[in-house]
Structures are given as structure tokens and as C-alpha cells.
Symmetry: C2
Subunit: 340 residues, 2 copies
């Protein structure tokens, strides 16, 4: 195996004694080249093993046909489904997708933004990290290159669109469901309040309590990154509180950590403590008792976010309009919240 010299359009042009501009047009199937010449060029390209160099093309056209996706963590089921939706729409439109994970780190998010900027991707879809408080690091890209659309974790920034669910309402429903099942002392596992999504979920919880005349108690809210270990930690704290008959967690991962801990301590779910999660991870249907949770239209969210972004890329209006969308969720009632 030896590394051959790269064949360029100029090599093809020379071999056929025609101009490289004609070769370029032929390879792009331009109507300005005759069918006969196109065939000669294509044949020669195959013969010599020509491989187009997108770097050169992208540089010249100032277009990469690529969108960047920044995701906190690809291993989360919710996010991998969103990505599938994004890819489906993007590939159909002839775009490549570059997936980057921030691992919930602002520092990595900044580095990723930098790399996507210097590589001039045509647009970016982002669900910001839990550490991200302001969006200054998005400005250089937004001002110099292309549109950004937020998904999952919405954000009111410049005139960027957000595709998300109504976290407030979902949270309200989840909490009300626990109350309807007889819970009066509900602990809430919250995500970082830097993220608006988690602020909204918390407010939904608070307002649902309020509606049913249950006093809100900050001591019943545990804020964490919602990992499984965080869930275990929070569960320990729960068992130290005087009376708790319900736990509502802002994601399934932490809910499942807690359930495992409760199980190990002989605390019965749902009879002693009912549990509701968020995200409908596959694991939520397998754990015993099965976990009541909120299902989000993840795949659809990806598709919509992607198509809004592509629209904004095509339509190079300097003043992009917001095209935000709020998708519907569904409360999946399972056994972890069914008292008696």
C-alpha cells in the first residue's frame, strides 16, 4: 500500500487537455458542460481515482454543508435520540453532522465553539452545558459565521430560536400526579439553577404544591448534577428528613440511583416513598417497580431543531426571526408512583 499523490482537477484537465474550470463544472454537473465532455471527465476521474477535496471547495464557496451539534453527553438516551432526529433531517437535506459532547463542561463547550467556528460549519445546534451561565462564547460564531438554534435547554439570546418542551408544565403535571396519588411531602431533585430548564422545572414543582395548598420548603429541594451517584446522595438525605412520601427527580438517572438506594435500605417504592422521574430512559421501564416519568418527543425535537436551523442557513437574512417551538410531553404512569 503506498500513498499515491493526490489527483486534482488540474491533473484531470491536463490528462484530457481541457481547462480545469470545465472539469470543475463537469464534476458539479453544470449545464454549461456538454454530456460528451462530462462523460470523458467522469471516466478519467474514475480511472485516476480522483477524490474531491472539500477543504478547497468549502474555502472557495464559503460553505461547508456541515452543521455542528453540541450535546452535553451522547450516552444519555434522550440526547442520542435527539441526535438521530437531527441527522435524519440533515442528511436528507445533504448536510453532514458533526457531533461534539461538552460533558457538561463550559470549558469544553468553549473549545468546541472555537473549533466549529474555525472550521466554519454552516450552523450550530446546541444544548448548553450545566455550567453555562452566559452565552458570550457564542457571539463570535453568531456574528461572523452562521445561525445557532438551541434545543432541549432553551435560551433567550440575540434572535436565536429554541426548540424545547414546556418544562414548567411537565414538572407541574409530574408533581400533581404525585399529589393525586396521596403524596403530601414531596422532595424535589433539581438540576443546576444556572440552566433555565431546571429553573422552570423547579417552578412547576413549586406552583403545583401551591395549587394544592402544600407548603413549599427549600429544604426539600436538593440541587445536583443529577448523576446516578447524585441520586444516591440525595436519597440518603431524604431518609434523614422527618416525613417524606414522594420524590420527584428532574431526571431518571438520579431517580434510579435513589430507588436503588431505597431498595438497599428496605424503603418500599411506591408505598413508603413514591418516585417520579423525567426523560423516559429505557432503564425506567426495566427497573422494579417501573418508574413513572415524563416522555419527551426527543427524535421529533431533533428533526424540528435541525429543520429550523437549515431554514435559517438557507435564508441568509441578516435579521433572523425567532422560530421557536414548544413540544408536547406525556406523563408515563408506571408503578413507582402508584400508592397502594
Amino acid at each position: 500500500m503506498k500513498k499515491t499523490e493526490q489527483i486534482t482537477i488540474h491533473d484531470l484537465a491536463r490528462a484530457l487537455e481541457i481547462d480545469s474550470s470545465t472539469v470543475s463544472r463537469a464534476l458539479n454537473d453544470s449545464p454549461r458542460v456538454s454530456a460528451k465532455t462530462k462523460k470523458r471527465i467522469l471516466d478519467k476521474a474514475n480511472e485516476l481515482g480522483y477524490q474531491r477535496n472539500s477543504l478547497a471547495s468549502n474555502l472557495r464557496t464559503n460553505k461547508t454543508n456541515t452543521i455542528g451539534v453540541i450535546v452535553p453527553r451522547i450516552s444519555r438516551n434522550f440526547f442520542s435520540n435527539v441526535i438521530s432526529g437531527i441527522e435524519e433531517t440533515a442528511y436528507q437535506a445533504g448536510y453532514n453532522v458533526v457531533i461534539c459532547q461538552s460533558l457538561e463542561s463550559l470549558d469544553r463547550e468553549k473549545k468546541i465553539m472555537n473549533s466549529l467556528l474555525s472550521n466554519r460549519v454552516d450552523g450550530i445546534l446546541i444544548s448548553t452545558s450545566m455550567e453555562t451561565e452566559n452565552m458570550d462564547h457564542l457571539k463570535p460564531y453568531l456574528n461572523n459565521v452562521g445561525p445557532i438554534v438551541f434545543y432541549d435547554r432553551p435560551c433567550d439570546f440575540e434572535n436565536c430560536s429554541s426548540i424545547s418542551i414546556n418544562d414548567y408544565k411537565a414538572s407541574f403535571e409530574a408533581t400533581e400526579h404525585l399529589i393525586a396519588n396521596g403524596c403530601k411531602h414531596i422532595v424535589y431533585f433539581s438540576g443546576p439553577q444556572t440552566v433555565s430548564l431546571y429553573r422552570n422545572r423547579k417552578q412547576g414543582y413549586i406552583d403545583a404544591l401551591k395549587k394544592h395548598d402544600i407548603e413549599f420548603n427549600e429544604a426539600y429541594c436538593f440541587e445536583s448534577m443529577l448523576s446516578e451517584d447524585n441520586g444516591i446522595e440525595s436519597a440518603k438525605k431524604v431518609l434523614k428528613l422527618p416525613v417524606v412520601d414522594g420524590v420527584y427527580s428532574a431526571n431518571d438517572t438520579a431517580a434510579i440511583g435513589a430507588m436503588q438506594y431505597f431498595k438497599s435500605k428496605g424503603v418500599k417504592v411506591p408505598d413508603d416513598i413514591a418516585v417520579v422521574g423525567f426523560n423516559n430512559d429505557p432503564i425506567s421501564g426495566v427497573i422494579e417497580p417501573s418508574l413513572t416519568t415524563i416522555n419527551q418527543p426527543d427524535f421529533e425535537m431533533g428533526k424540528i431543531a435541525s429543520s429550523v436551523l437549515l431554514q435559517q442557513i438557507k435564508n441568509k437574512d441578516i435579521n433572523r426571526k425567532k422560530q421557536s417551538a414548544v413540544l408536547d410531553i406525556e406523563l408515563i404512569k408506571r408503578n413507582s408512583s402508584k400508592k397502594m
Copy 2:
């Protein structure tokens, strides 16, 4: 927000009345530029909001500082851990990582190869799709651009390295474990035999049976893509067989589908049928009974694959030597295989 004109090194050069080559060298911190000039240039770059264009740079240097990773499915825990390992090593070495999922489709794998080739990534890490039977679609990249390293699903192709586990041995151990727990009629859930990894796993199963004087029966092997639904399908077939006291599945996903089905039919795991999976997915520790499985050093596999690839990228030897590695696995004994 208005899209400003892109600032280039030529704009900086003009503004400072120096040559663009000096600007370029300054931005790359070349020793050929005086400290004073460097500072002037950097200040001006900040002032004008200069953003380097990697397309131009990569085109000129014929180097992208990017590696491509082709993964069958990012949502599988095993693969997302491998990716984390890859990213860790690559980022430390100053490389970007482009993640692409084939979704086990050869067609998509080909398209991805094409895109990575035309974008001239410096090297590729690949776990081939279940549909991939021959590697012809890897040749253009290998011949014209850079090295390819296989991970997870090894392959003897040209002089590409493979980083994998000893699937034969792992499978042998898993099967022997079931036998040690009293199983005599073990069904095997296999992946597609197009993939050498699944061929090796099957052989490990067969040889373990042989060693313990259990007759191998092809009718006890169900081949599928090993999705959860495939697991359920296979479980249905298992219950139609005369005597089965053990199931060994080539991945956890299918094993869990089967366990859920057994549960719904009142078949007790492990007492009626013991189950062993493969991959140590998080869900395997949560399901009841907890699932005995094979743990692979996924994160480490990613790190090693990545570092082997980076070495081969640096060392542009035309004749790359194989630097394959076989990593150790661990049988995680849990409750799904503990008879009595």
C-alpha cells in the same frame, strides 16, 4: 446583529503595514517574529475580531488535526464509553474528533467514509457495521489519505491495526460459567456472522460446550441484530424448545429483552432459565435479577485505539506496521446466572 466581513490575516497585515506572512508566523508563534511585532499583531487581531480559518490552513498544510470515529450507534453504553476514551487521548494531543454513527448500515458507513475522505481527516477509527462484509470502501481513504484503526470489531485488512478484546475467550468463559452453574441446555443469541467478532463469540460458546461434553446444536443458536425486540423474539422461540435451562446472549440489550419476556410469562430467571449477557450496560445492574455479563475495558479501548492511530498519523511511514492489542475482559457474576 449583522454579519461582519470576515477578517483575514491580510486585513491585519494591511492595518499594521506589514506582510501577511509575518502575521501568519506571529499567529503561529513562530520564532522568526520578534516579540514586539507579535504583540502588535495579537492586539490588532483581538481588536478586529480575527478568527482563523482552518479550511484555508488545512488546505495549505494538508493536515486537519482531526480524526474521524465511525461508531455503529452512539447510544450504546459501550460505544459512548469508547468514544470518551478516544476523545480524552485525542484532545490531549490537540486533535479534534468527528463522531459519525453508521446505525449498523453499510450504506451509511460508505457515505461517512466518503465524507471523511473528502474532508481529509488525518485518520479514522472504525467499528464496522453489522452489514459490512468486505472493506473495499475503506481503500480510497487508506490509499490516498491516512491510517485506519479498527476497534471493538477487529479486522485483518491491509496493515491496519485492531484494538479489541478476545471475544472467543470471553464467550468461552461466559458459557463455562453457565455450565458451572448447572446449565446443560444453553441457547445462544448470536449477532450477524458477517462480523468476525460474532463469529468468534459463537466459536467460544461452541468450544466451551464441547469441552464439557455438551453437544452443540445449531437449532439452539438464534442469529439477529441483538436489539431488545430481537431478544424478545428469541425468548419466544426459546420457550418453544423442549428443554432450555440457560441463555447466553452476545449482548445485554437482547438478554434484557428476553428477561423481560420471561418475566411476563412467569418463567423464573435464573431458576428456570439462567441468563448471561455481554457488555455490562448500566441497565444490567438495575434489572432484577441483576444480569451476569462480560465487562469490557471500553474507555481504555478508546484511549488505546486513539493513541495507536495518532502514532501512525505522526509516523508517516508508508509501510505501517500493525500495532494490534487484545484487552482483558472480566466476567461480572450477578444473580441472573445463580441457580438455586
